[in-house]
Symmetry: C2
Subunit: 326 residues, 2 copies
Amino acid sequence: MKEVVLKMLKQGSPEFVSGEEICRSLNVTRTAVWKNIKALKEDGYKIEARPRAGYLFKSAPDIPYPGEIREGLVTRVFGRKVYYYDSAPSTNVLARELAQKGAPEGALVITEEQTGGKGRLGRGWHSPRGMGLWFSLIFRPPAAPAQAVQLTILAAVALTEAIRKETGLPVGIKWPNDLLFDGKKICGILTEMSAEMERVNYLVIGAGINVGQSARDFAEEVRDTATSLFLALNRPVSRVKLLQSILESTEKWYDRWLAEGFTPVLGRWKELSVTLRRPVRIHSFNETWDGWAEDLDEEGALIVQMPDRSRRKVVSGEVSLRLDLT
Amino acid sequence: MKEVVLKMLKQGSPEFVSGEEICRSLNVTRTAVWKNIKALKEDGYKIEARPRAGYLFKSAPDIPYPGEIREGLVTRVFGRKVYYYDSAPSTNVLARELAQKGAPEGALVITEEQTGGKGRLGRGWHSPRGMGLWFSLIFRPPAAPAQAVQLTILAAVALTEAIRKETGLPVGIKWPNDLLFDGKKICGILTEMSAEMERVNYLVIGAGINVGQSARDFAEEVRDTATSLFLALNRPVSRVKLLQSILESTEKWYDRWLAEGFTPVLGRWKELSVTLRRPVRIHSFNETWDGWAEDLDEEGALIVQMPDRSRRKVVSGEVSLRLDLT
């Protein structure tokens, strides 16, 4: 009912909506209306109450509540179903459970804070309350497991474009799928899948985007390597608007992938990459070596040219950009 | 406690073990001993009770109880942990849940009947009570998702060798991983995995082996295409012994794969294949076409030579052997 009261107030704005009218429409008591208004205020909505005039909607909080996400969202599938949690261990873990139980393609799982956020290769991801977008999307692509990597590359492209659009920042992609601004990490992506040998059952793509952190919000050990949109822009960024933009950009690229295949995605990834055509240091399977990042292949592997001109294919690991050689 | 009583009786056999001795060892009453003996008899164990002499273990039923599987099993990891169910919807579904909760590599999930057994590509698998081996194994390979297909090929090799060893039947592998005798299906394999882009979290390989069915136990629509070991041999086959052989053969091939990689597995698969070097009809993605099955590649794809000498790579679908052209 809270949602319906909010909708009435939003529709009435900038006029007051009388409490009596709400009672009549919803067939509830004055006390029930008052309780819902109180709950909305606790959720962060600004609502003015004036005796005899009623209630006036003034503003919504920048919190990714399902209703706020859907308002003005131009997508067919992505974000149409939203699972919102005030707090969660990990949206990827929840999304996999929901997908297992049949949650549809495009479903969004989002939380205000992750208490056990996951990064690549078993690492953690710090996800403090209200400071970022911590979410996962469910995909059910008609694809074989070997093609799943194409969607993680697609997600990096879609997220980069959305962040660029909303902020104007020249964010770039570091292989395999970290988004950087000015050499510092602003977003990480973790893809997980359930598959048979011949087809993917479902794929979960999780992202953590640092939006509102100040320098002191980052733990000391990552302060030199991580940043936020707030720090990069020196002004706040709306999480709800950014998320809508991400959902729209993801749907656009996913539809294009379904229709045209991987080639356009791969081409755009190469344009947005900050790794390619650069000297790099590779850390992979307990080995460290230097080379020149030459290309990304159809399987998402980084093709690195070695000092002796031979080529190595890197499928897993870390890449550092070697600034000493530029 | 039932397990301990059984162990005492087995150790005592071929002598009687007195009830009093069991009471003393386990520090329980005569009634408790009697109840456990009764339960063991209900499980199918043959135990002779003689006044004043005690109890004599005579034989175990051919049911894959955890204790029976482990007795005489020569493995380090596979089948060391057994999840046994009298009835289950699908061992693959259970195994994935158990793996998600941390079940170790080599864990075996087995049931007497599946009420919702799964085959490849969303199909069903008929798994009547006591008639076969319906089980799944959990793997945690240090591998990327693209390599997972190597383990489903490995499983086909390991199962074929175990069945050949226990029965002497020249069972062969039909691409991708059905085991056939005399052109009829005797075993199906379904592999599922949970993975990140760079590494497999866990892999579940499920198998259904038709062991004891008579012709009338098969539904009419599969009577021409399915068979059992009993029908092929015209004598019963021990499910427990066959399963032990499978666990040993799987561990042997898995260890070899870890040490030497995919090449030996692939080579053995080719030897055991009934698809290669044969005219075939392919049904893949709503298309049907004829060709010559030439090879299996490193990714588990079937390489088919077309009438015009061009080659096609088949990654998913069905293959029929064309007997008309042999």
